[in-house]
């Protein structure tokens, strides 16, 4: 049976509640400023003793008009904004956005760019999962696991800084390529290899040792916040939330993109090989374990790619009038200079075809998509986000009802709510 939540006004939380003995119910405001909400979000809980009778999430405390900005910034500039949506790992927001922009303009990336983007995307997935796994411990009082998780995240920041120039909000992708090629491929390969072969496995092992079979952690997470397979599909959950409930869906397999598709380099290379972990219990513990396994699969994917990064250009050819020509041409030739001006000037810029396009990728939290409506101008007419966290978060009231107040943080952590993406 589908679950419906009647939209309630705040006044409804006054004394005349519909739930039985209303005299004994009381209301608790959880957030907007609470360390366990991770970000700025408010949840109004109606409690019977310590048990939650009703939960009403309020969103909008971090609303910053990102989607509207997308209508005012051009296809390259908007990447700085999408970075700030799901900031647990900014890179895959960029991959999704520029994936959509390139689909609209019909640009086929170079093999080198595809490989680099895939590696970065998987690093992003590890980055986000480390946050979620580590914070799962933190929310339940196990601070140490959190520190180990962040130790490893720090290395990802270093790698990302090396390839993009900034530690966090990378603004790394551009239409048809990247903002720069690797400064030195050998150094990059060494950094990534050191990370995935030595540092990360040890960090993961430490977290596992602390949490996986720790009775306190297991008791706090097992059987909490269960969502069944049918409900997960009905609520269109995606990512680890869905897979922990037994829904075998992963965009990387179902609608492959970048190096997840066969023949990605036009020379018959097979798609990268990995497995999609699923569980059937659908509780907080299952989501934790699925995420942990996905980190391992990501390591496996990076291992296959890191040794054979194809050579060649990282940007598509400037002939297509979508990427800036190389600086040597701009400084040295009049054609290069003209083309450079053409792309940047506001009355010229990109010339995408009119039309609509939707492109989605599998991020650490699920299906993140962008729906672009183009009127042929330099900026999108509409740049709609299909936000995975927002859609996963809808099911939150259903998950917490009937549980204790202290379980709210455990469930919230397992949904991995990032309010900036929630509100956009």
């Amino acid at each position: 049976m589908a679950y419906t939540l009647t939209p309630a006004e705040p006044e409804q939380f006054d004394a005349q509640s519909t739930h039985g003995d209303s005299d004994n119910l009381w209301t608790l405001n959880f957030g907007p400023q609470h360390p366990a909400t991770h970000t700025t979000l408010r949840i109004v809980l109606e409690l019977d003793g310590e048990r939650i009778v009703k939960c009403l999430p309020h969103i909008g405390y971090l609303h910053s008009g990102f989607e509207k900005l997308g209508e005012n910034l051009n296809y390259n500039q908007y990447v700085t904004i999408v970075d700030r949506m799901d900031y647990s790992a900014p890179i895959y927001n960029e991959l999704a956005w520029h994936g959509a922009a390139e689909k609209l303009m019909g640009i086929e990336l170079t093999p080198r760019c595809k490989v680099l983007r895939t590696i970065a995307g998987e690093l992003g997935r590890i980055q986000s999962h480390l946050l979620c796994i580590a914070a799962a411990g933190l929310d339940l009082g196990a601070l140490t696991a959190f520190l180990y998780g962040f130790n490893e995240r720090e290395v990802i920041y270093d790698i990302v800084e090396y390839m993009s120039g900034q530690r966090f909000h990378t603004s790394w992708t551009r239409v048809g390529g990247l903002n720069m090629d690797l400064p030195d491929e050998e150094v990059f390969v060494r950094m990534v290899k050191r990370f995935i072969n030595e540092q990360l496995p040890r960090g993961i092992e430490d977290i596992e040792k602390l949490l996986n079979r720790n009775r306190i952690f297991v008791d706090r997470t097992k059987g909490i916040g269960i969502i069944s397979r049918e409900d997960a599909i009905a609520w269109s959950l995606s990512g680890p939330m869905a897979r922990a409930s037994g829904v075998a869906r992963d965009i990387r397999k179902d609608e492959p993109y970048l190096c997840f598709a066969d023949n990605w380099d036009n020379q018959g290379s097979p798609a990268v090989n990995f497995k999609v972990p699923i569980m059937t219990t659908g509780d907080v513990y299952a989501r934790y374990l699925v995420r942990l396994e996905e980190v391992r699969q990501s390591i496996h994917i990076i291992r296959q790619l890191i040794d054979n990064i194809p050579g060649g250009a990282v940007n598509v050819s400037p002939e297509g009038k979508a990427v800036l020509p190389p600086k040597s041409q701009v400084y040295g030739s009049i054609e290069g200079l003209i083309q450079h001006f053409e792309i940047i000037m506001t009355n010229r810029g990109f010339i995408p075809p009119r039309g609509e396009v939707y492109n989605c990728i599998e991020t650490a939290n699920g299906e993140l998509g962008y729906y672009i409506v183009s009127d042929g101008g330099n900026v999108p007419w509409r740049a709609r986000t299909r936000p995975c966290i927002y859609i996963n978060y809808q099911v939150f009231p259903k998950l917490v009802e009937g549980h204790m107040v202290s379980d709210v943080v455990a469930i919230l952590g397992s949904v991995n709510v990032i309010a900036a993406e929630l509100d956009r």
Binding site: Q77, T80, M163, S171, R194, L210, D250, K275, M279, F341
Partner: protein, 177 residues
């Protein structure tokens, strides 16, 4: 998706020892102790900022790569020490944060027509995306590896032309154009 692409993970089996709290607590304690030892043996990853800085550490050990890092801007000078910028407004156009303000004027020099009489970058508004550097057709604006800048007022953080040229003078040795 093919069924061979899916692996179903089983919950870890709790042994009898795990059913009691103590053994797992000890395992956890062992893990944390191991990390504590690393501090004494110097194999931890702590950097004693500001005595140690990431600029001085090799990149593979987690150091900073000066060339690619995107920090505070600078305005480059040409061989004669004049500002290189030709006030073409490309950087201001490309900037997604609208934080570059230029006032162009007729240049006092023979070899070009325009130069920036005023050139202000609001470093508080800037998001350090590097699009201005990409947009510049004459290599006049660049992002340096400086990141620890402070100011007591907001006005101080609006870098004007002389300040941006000073950043160039200070950083040109470690980061040539």
């Amino acid at each position: 998706m093919k069924s061979t692409d899916v692996i179903e993970i089983a919950e870890p089996r709790m042994t009898l020892g795990d059913q009691f709290f103590l053994p797992q607590v000890l395992v956890g304690l062992g893990t944390t102790m191991k990390h504590m030892l690393r501090v004494w043996t110097g194999t931890d990853r702590v950097i004693q900022y500001p005595e140690e800085r990431r600029e001085d550490i090799p990149v593979v050990e987690g150091g900073m790569h000066r060339r690619s890092y995107r920090g505070v801007h600078r305005l480059n000078r040409d061989e004669e020490g004049r500002v290189k910028c030709v006030a073409c407004f490309m950087c201001a156009t490309a900037c997604p944060a609208h934080c570059i303000h230029i006032e162009a004027d007729e240049s006092p020099w023979e070899d070009r027509e325009k130069y920036p009489a005023k050139f202000d970058i609001d470093e508080l508004r800037c998001i350090y995306c590097g699009m201005c550097e990409e947009a510049c057709p004459v290599d006049a604006i660049e992002l340096t590896s400086l990141y620890d800048i402070v100011g007591l007022t907001r006005q101080e953080m609006v870098f004007d032309k002389s300040k941006l040229l000073r950043v160039y003078d200070e950083t040109q040795e470690v980061e040539p154009i």
